[in-house]
Subunit: 108 residues, 2 copies
DNA sequence: ATTTAATATCGTAATATTGCAATATAAAGA
DNA sequence: TCTTTATATTGCAATATTACGATATTAAAT
């Protein structure tokens, strides 16, 4: 016990859960909002912006990248990060569909 | 260490992260989708639907309720659960704003 | 009053996440 | 080449999550 029973759920359910999980930490939300503000930036900029050590920021960036929420392009010495729109679209579409369905329903 | 540094982030950032975190598990996504299909149901229905024990389902329902994603109304013996639209709206609005901002940006 | 049914809570083991110091890697500049 | 700069990885401690058996709670049914 302790491990999520991933294999019992559909690919789509796991996909949405994985993306949501990546956004389930305030530091990662802060990183997304910072990227939104500055368009593109390097890891060091985020380290200066957030109250977290460089390895911690690097780890959060990795998780956001694994979930497809950001992209990282090597630019010589540093890595240029920016938001990956596609995955946010996937989420928005998913929630839009939920809301459309729910508005036709009656709650208990 | 090990605990999230919640106090260093804004209320809005923590709010979005909390909601996203609640959706960051395939079982909870499956519960949302089941509720979407059947409109309303009781805990026992979900226990029959998912490959998880009753206490586990109860715990997942509690987290979804704490995040404001579902509502639970006592109906005599059992509890009637249904989706709470408001919180999904909050998420959708948040992602819509992100996408609107990103589409005017150029990635690296 | 007792039993049954539906959920919640407690306790606990297994696993995952968070955060960071120390260290590694890799490219640019002197 | 040696140093500097930028980022990633490793290893580990603290904490959180996941899952479930056992048990408690609460209301309906008999």
């Amino acid at each position: 016990m302790g491990a999520t029973k991933t294999e019992h759920f559909t690919d789509k359910q796991n996909q949405i859960a994985t993306i949501a999980k990546a956004l389930g930490h305030p530091a990662r939300i802060a990183i997304i909002e910072y990227l939104l503000k500055v368009n593109t930036c390097i890891c060091g900029d985020i380290v200066n912006e957030l109250p977290l050590a460089q390895p911690t920021v690097s780890q959060h960036l990795k998780e956001l990248k694994n979930a497809g929420l950001i992209k990282g392009n090597i630019e010589g010495n540093s890595i240029c990060y920016c938001i990956d729109e596609k995955t946010f679209d996937t989420l928005k579409e998913y929630f839009s569909k939920i809301i459309l369905t729910v508005t036709n329903q009656k709650c208990c």
